[in-house]
């Protein structure tokens, strides 16, 4: 499932500058593609625009070769699973009920779950290691458990692509690592995985390509070695860093340095 944008521009009402400004990108199928950038650089907006949730001011988004507007929500949900940053849960639901929602685009409003649906749900629960939680109320889970359940729901859609907005925010290293490995594995099996993250080092280690956003514009796009260069990272994040190769993984490792002179955030 290929995602591509051409001159994508999105502006929120009353905002001084566009949230996304002339973003052109191309994500071929089967890639683990990381979107990086400082807070407010437009990462979540990019994700929403890619999923057809936002009105575009200019440019276009194509999914699987078709303009995103030409997809129905149901048609898109059969091919693309999404994990947003936030989700509400005003009423109690069990883990299984939540994951079973991933079958909605395949079932529509009326038809009830068949064997194929139940198999997809079991596989998704298994893949995210949450089978044991099936009957637990989802609002009583820990952050890491809930995130895995939400990814399981996206997998239950049996999609060709996954789009995730900071799926590992606020998770401990074990759960963060488990999720990155899961996504990596998923991309290996041919799914396109588009991931917004703040974790530069995991992006360096797992992503095939990286898009670095800065104030809504593309600062750099390429393989990790091209994007995660000292001068680029320092310029975009406004903070001194050291970039080197990790002894163990061989991946690039970005370490923020402490800044001698007083500055914002420096007490």
């Amino acid at each position: 499932m290929r995602f591509a944008t051409q001159g994508l521009t999105v502006a929120y009402r009353d905002a001084a500058r566009p949230a996304l400004d002339d973003v052109t990108m191309d994500v071929p199928a089967g890639l683990l593609y990381a979107v990086l950038g400082p807070n407010g650089s437009g990462k979540s907006t990019l994700m929403r625009a890619l999923l057809g949730f936002l009105q575009l001011r200019a440019g276009e988004v194509r999914i699987g070769g078709l303009p995103v507007q030409s997809w129905t929500r149901r048609g898109l949900a059969r091919r693309v699973g999404a994990v947003t940053q936030f989700e509400e849960m005003p009423f109690p639901l069990t883990v299984r009920e939540l994951v079973a929602m991933g079958r909605y685009p395949h079932l529509g409003p009326m038809r009830s779950e068949g064997p194929a649906d139940r198999a997809a749900i079991s596989r998704a629960l298994e893949e995210c290691d949450v089978t044991a939680l099936s009957n637990r109320p989802a609002n009583e889970l820990s952050g890491g458990e809930l995130q895995r359940v939400r990814i399981a729901r996206a997998l239950a859609q049996e999609p060709d692509a996954l789009v995730l907005d900071e799926p590992t925010a606020s998770l401990d290293i074990r759960h963060e690592m488990a999720i990155f490995q899961l996504l990596h594995h998923s991309a290996d099996r041919g799914r396109t995985v588009l991931l917004v993250t703040h974790n530069l080092n995991f992006a360096a280690r797992f992503a095939d390509r990286i898009l670095l956003l800065d104030q809504g514009r593309v600062a750099m796009e390429g393989v990790p070695g091209e994007v995660l260069r000292k001068e680029i990272v320092e310029d975009v994040y406004g903070w001194p860093v050291k970039v080197r190769h990790d002894d163990l993984t061989g991946a690039l490792q970005v370490t923020p340095l402490s800044r001698p002179e007083p500055g914002p955030g420096n007490r």
Binding site: R48, L51, R73, A77, G81, A82, E87, P90, Y104
Partner: protein, 329 residues
Amino acid sequence: MSRTGFGTLLAVLVVLAVLLAVGFGTVSIPPREVADALFGRGDSTTRYIIMELRLPRAILAVLVGGGLALAGAVFQALLRNPLAEPYILGISGGAAVGAVLAIATGVVVASSWALPVAAFAGALAAIALVFGVAASADRRMDVRVLLLAGVVVGAFFSACIALILAVSDAPTVRTAILWMMGSLSGADWNAVMVAALYTLPAALVLLGLARALNLMAIGEETASYLGTDVEKVKRTAFGVASLVAASGVAVAGVIGFVGLIVPHGIRLLVGSDHRALLPLSFLGGAAFLTSADLLARTVLSPSEIPIGVVTAFVGVPIFLVLLRRSLQG
């Protein structure tokens, strides 16, 4: 208990409540005579009491109670707010203004249709106003805007009612206040027809949206990524549920608590899947309001107490017990 078992139990309760409501009242009628009357036999007075007074009233209670509980469950899902109820978007306020105006100007005397028509018109005006405001503020009809608009429009209607009552004479005020507390005493077959016309097709439409409502309850963005046409579901479900609430308030006045408490009670018992929640709420609301009306008619017989008082007196303790049980669960 399984959902099917629970559904069967509730259906039996509805039938039982209707039979009791038909048998009891100022005059108690023994079961054999009730059966005779239902099949068009027995003496004419009994037949009249049952076929023209009690049966339409009981069926109206089934339709209004079921409709309110159903609409309440739908509003709670769409607004993602457990405190939502069918009147939250100003529907009761609008209906009350219409009704109170009709009472104060005396048009109610002209025709038995004047009061429900005025109340229905008021409810529709409130719906149009609230949805108009929300839609003009945001193309996507943000539910937070809807909720705020509903509360503000409701407050405005309350002020209108206060103004009309302030310049009305005492009997008018009494009639108006009693109407606002809800009553099924105006029930006849015409009212039943009106309520059925709105409630039954609406119930089918809402049941068809049950799975989509499951998704809407966890947020519109997520729902749309899972394949829901959010705007369509929202427009249909809000529109249809509002019409159910409006028709209910038109024929029975403002009956509180049913639309809030019944869906919650059902949710505590069977969970939040709307495919079970919606039909069970309808049955639960029907059984609850029919029983409440029986109490309203009989407790201080021959005078009636407002049904809203009964729904609160009975509903609140039941709800608190359920809540406590679920927290201990």
